[in-house]
Assembly symmetry: C2
DNA sequence: ACACTCTTTGTAAGCGCTTACATTTCAGTG
DNA sequence: CACTGAAATGTAAGCGCTTACAAAGAGTGT
């Protein structure tokens, strides 16, 4: 593999000149530039990004931490972030934390050791303190889908409480009064926020928010099934079921159908997230749009603006508001 | 950020010694090791992976090219590869090629410039020649889901022809005789292989393989819908529909339902790939399992074995055989 | 006490670039 | 034609590591 040195020899110029035509930040006469470019082409020269990074202390890569590499939610996120950065010649290095404190921590340390220019974190398991320390260091960091006190301009979040509120409100507006809820793990901030919104909507509508109508799931499909079984068995008069994410809604749908319930005739179901497959479901799932792509794009923009001094027209927003996506799984009582 | 030099000072040893305790490949006395480790801990030292790579000419990272970062198929692939490599302390750098020759090419060049130790490519758009050249270079390369002549031990593939055959056979065994087919883009090898298998099954069963029963889609959901419309309109007597992937099967299901057809009572549908969401569909999709995860895992093993000299017990297989996953969308005619 | 071997540690060159600073080139001027 | 200063190019230090090689220590046997 040719090095810059060989190029400089072939072109009959110094190393520095070759470096200059590569980076284009210093004036080089047209004649020399031509010579260098020819030499590069002839040798099939390809700069060694590692050496460039070491010398310039800039890697042109942004670390992205997600919880999983599969699943619609993270797929959408990765895709958006990658697209946004690629436009400006920046690359993402993706790692998965698997919602485990140690693994998230390791993944972040890995990204740091690779000397990413910035970090975009969808971190669910590490502590607020750790994130705070990280943000205070000189490595630029943004946090997605999690609000950490004191780090507001580093956080990009969805108003989960409002989302929970909207879902419940949608059901109430259709005349439902006996409403079941399958929540995410309550220790997760987004799960508890959604639930809080749900409760608020019920209360405002004068409906008692009964604790035993709430089943705590784990955001996975199977717990949606479990939740459905539980609720159907104990509270057969429930006419609407709200799930804290689409995966669980899908599980609940399956379980409901197996129990002989038609959706939405016998039971209305509302999801949350609006992941891609929610429209593959039958009936198509009424859900709350979680603008994860907007979050990702905004986070990428923040990095471009604050780290790479790219001129970005759009303003940087930190709070995103979810909305109802009306499809076919919710109907009048 | 502390450097190795500062650690060596703090520990009162030379640079080389610090490097040795980090890499653990040379004997260092226990006493010195302790001193160094203490100094590292005190300084919160974190090796600079970039500098390590430059000096050692090894990055401990494997480049992975996929077509998209979202979607179940690639999600599963990325996830498996990452898991397999992480176990041995190796990392993946993921890039997307978007099934576009230039973008795939650029992505591969990017991975090369990052000096990955090996490349795992799910490349659909670049030419066979390019891949051949790549494999002949000294950078280890494996190709997933594509067979290139002369590169057999670098390729990991699914027997798509067999898969196509099995799907058709499954429908035939249920008594279907009028069978529609929604294919992928015929210029894609996997799409044409699947179709070839389909034809063979029909022929063997003494059913005429009518060309106009075949609709060429693009592997996306919408073209499944289009295909369904086309077939339903022109050949209303079709009782089974086979789709070259699950996305299109999903689209076809929606379109069928909108046209008032019950699945599988009025129309049986078979998919291909067995991506995660195929079991979220209603009715759950009968499909052909595409062992993409096995491919990914095997590719990772190949790299571990051939590049990192890891001792791997399992033999390396290059051809994977698909099988029918019986669910609820295919029934007796 | 000495020569000899085996271990442990240090020295210094280099990996392939970037960039501050020094030097050369050359058009423009009086 | 010598002189000036801006533009173009070159020189060399250094980014933070690894590793071949050299040197020093620690045992051994006589």
């Amino acid at each position: 593999m040719a090095t810059i040195y060989e190029v400089s020899e072939a072109a009959g110029v110094s190393l520095a000149t070759v470096s200059r035509v590569m980076n284009g930040n210093t004036k080089v006469s047209d004649r020399t530039r031509k010579k260098v470019e020819t030499a590069m082409a002839e040798l099939g020269y390809q700069p060694n990004a590692i050496a460039q990074s070491l010398a310039s202390n800039r890697t042109n890569s942004v670390g992205l931490l997600v919880s999983e590499l599969h699943g619609s939610y993270f797929g959408d996120l990765m895709s958006t972030v990658e697209q946004a950065l690629k436009q400006y010649g920046k690359h993402v290095i993706i790692t998965a934390g698997h919602v485990d404190e140690k693994r998230e921590h390791d993944a972040i340390e890995f990204l740091k050791s690779r000397r990413c220019d910035a970090l975009i974190l969808h971190a669910e398991a590490v502590s607020d303190e750790y994130l705070t320390t990280l943000c205070k260091s000189d490595l630029p960091v943004v946090v997605i889908n999690r609000k950490v006190d004191g780090l507001d301009d580093h956080c990009f979040v969805v108003d989960n409480e409002k989302g929970g509120y909207l879902a419940a409100q949608a059901a109430i507006q259709q005349g439902h009064k006996e409403i079941g809820y399958i929540s995410g793990p309550k220790f997760k901030k987004d799960a508890s926020d959604r639930l809080a919104g749900h409760r608020r909507a019920l209360t405002e509508a004068g409906i008692e928010a009964k604790d035993d109508h709430i089943f705590e799931g784990d955001f996975h499909e199977s717990s949606g099934q479990e939740g459905m079984h539980y609720l159907k068995q104990h509270f057969p008069d429930i006419t609407a079921l709200i799930c804290a994410n689409d995966e669980m809604a899908s599980g609940a749908m399956t379980a409901a159908r197996e129990a002989g319930l038609e959706i939405p005739q016998h039971l209305s179901i509302v999801g949350f997230d609006n992941v891609l497959f929610s429209r593959y479901l039958y009936p198509k799932l009424t859900t709350i749009n979680n603008p994860i792509q907007s979050l990702g794009e905004m986070a990428a923009r923040w990095v471009l603006k604050n780290v790479y001094d790219t001129k970005i027209n759009h303003a940087i927003e930190h709070l995103f508001v979810p909305e109802v996506v009306e499809r076919h799984s919710l109907s009048k009582r």
